[in-house]
Symmetry: C2
Subunit: 364 residues, 2 copies
Amino acid sequence: MSDKATITIKDVARVAGCGVATASRVLNASGPASAEMTERVRRAAEDLGFSFNAIGRALQSRRSRTVGCLVPSLANPVFGEAMQGVQDQLRAAGYQPLICASNYDEDIDEDMLRTLLAQKVEGLIITMAVPARSAALKVARASGVPVSLMFHDPIDGFASAYVDNAAAAREVARQFIVRGHHRLGFLALHFASSDRSQSRYAGFRDECRVAGLAEPALIEISEREARCPDMIANVLRANPEITGLFASNDFLAIAVQNAAARIGRRVPQDLSVIGFDGIDIGHLLSPSLATIETDAGAMGRQAAHSLLIAMQNGEMHQRPPLPFVFRAGATLAAAPEKKDGDRDAPQSPSVHQASVPTKTRTNS
Amino acid sequence: MSDKATITIKDVARVAGCGVATASRVLNASGPASAEMTERVRRAAEDLGFSFNAIGRALQSRRSRTVGCLVPSLANPVFGEAMQGVQDQLRAAGYQPLICASNYDEDIDEDMLRTLLAQKVEGLIITMAVPARSAALKVARASGVPVSLMFHDPIDGFASAYVDNAAAAREVARQFIVRGHHRLGFLALHFASSDRSQSRYAGFRDECRVAGLAEPALIEISEREARCPDMIANVLRANPEITGLFASNDFLAIAVQNAAARIGRRVPQDLSVIGFDGIDIGHLLSPSLATIETDAGAMGRQAAHSLLIAMQNGEMHQRPPLPFVFRAGATLAAAPEKKDGDRDAPQSPSVHQASVPTKTRTNS
DNA sequence: ACCTCTAGTGGAAACGTTTCCACTAGGATC
DNA sequence: GATCCTAGTGGAAACGTTTCCACTAGAGGT
């Protein structure tokens, strides 16, 4: 049943009774060929079940039609969605993604990048574990291959498909402040290594300052701690004054709710929580999750699109950041009545009323 | 800064003052070389920043060191985790996955498979959108490349890394029955096209039969309907007699809870729900999610491992199915007191007491 | 009748590797 | 001193493709 050997274009040419050059031209529609020859070659290819060997093709043409993609983890659906977007976009252009995950390991990051470059990818789409001072990024630049970043704020002249993390965080802060919260906290995962977390904290803090609030607490926890609700409960216990907590991502926000319940704090009556990413099930939970909704698929598509353009004309342009939306949810409510004599928090001047905005659209 | 041209092993040989054969032997440690020559070649490669071109190498050696992976979607973290497992395993063996998603589209399935084969992947790891009568599977078989399935029950002689869906579903049924439920339902996504859903329903139904219960209701909904809580609410309304609902996956189980709340049914007092997959956040929700816990990463690792073995010695062996665990959760409780004169449901003979087992481990 | 053009064709080189083979130069064995 | 081995080496052939180039033959222009 199966073929004795692999079938090459030479076999096709032989059967069709022509030279390989002609066969190649016919099968690629890349040059002149008589109607009769065309028919014969098509026929032969069909009969033999011929299909091109992408490797031979890539070697000769020096075009692998392949784009390397690197994300920290595929287990995180946010990156999965982004990859889905990347694939859709690339596929339409006749390219194929080579997808790798670094598992948040800086060394694997670099290693994977080298592997991808050895495969002669024509472009790279990268979300790094540790973008700053990343050896991987140096490798990428040295390669001369066009690079699109994803999720990261633009760094070092690399274009990125991202949302403005600082602006989103400011929006989160405003949502808290509007509701009378004045002791806020930011719960960060991978803070030290994540530029995104850092931008978010910066924006969050800035908005607090503008509103004359105290510096928001910066609480870092490790991935391992995040998996352990008791750890998070401890964190909450250690920060009893916080009434509004901004979590690094939606999963963490959910974990916070769980932890709060363990120590008898009610969400949102005692503690309001806002997440980040806008994962789908957020809507369905009770209480529903207040969060910043982003579109990871769109980020993937944009990164791929920019890259494709750059691969054609060599010019990589930074597009404006992608829009995000604040999604209201039941985890966010007015601050509890203060029991202690906290100093009065001046309201931000832009705040007109206490009515709750449902969705705020923005893209800067 | 960047290299004027790409550096090949010829350049290395020239600089080292030797033939390419020698350079190749040194750099691959694949043959004899004098200490001095070794040094010179290493030096030259280092100085030039040489790295192998995987394409040239693959062409000549007819070994791409690459494995094609196809999953229905990367946006689903279950598949993402599996891919992560695959990658870890392959990487350790010097292979690289080429990951594709079919987006649950049968045509893309086949198209992707052809693309992967054109890349001369040395093996395939596949989870199909529609396994039965799948053209993709025929393509895979015809290619002669070793194939590991993932998630699917073994089909057509292909080995698979999977959990025994029917057994898991029987366990789910027992958990309901133990608690006095006797009107059960199975809520399926992609039922017509998913062998997994079908196996689960079969097991679920079988166990109901064994216990002398009525046939469980089979409720199919589309992906689109699943996103719309009102649709699910309608389904619940249309099946008021059901007190125990087995959902196709955890996300769907969460959606069910939400829908139930909308029509005033309490989980678990009025309706018990059990999911499938065992996603991490299930623990953290309130009520916590009762579910069948599976290890997608382990499935990926096993699929990759079996494949690697088959790639070496040509023999693909079906390993026993991977273990699953029933995870108790607050969405599952005793059946509500019956209000109508339902006939008595005989208890399964294996049931000794009403005490709630916390975890049941099994692997068959 | 000559030249020029074009369509159609195939030979062969190249892409970057690995590996087979042939070759040399010593050292060991008889 | 002839023979055999071994380590070390490089030339060259392949892998499957595309594409440059050269060639033919007929058509169309003078």
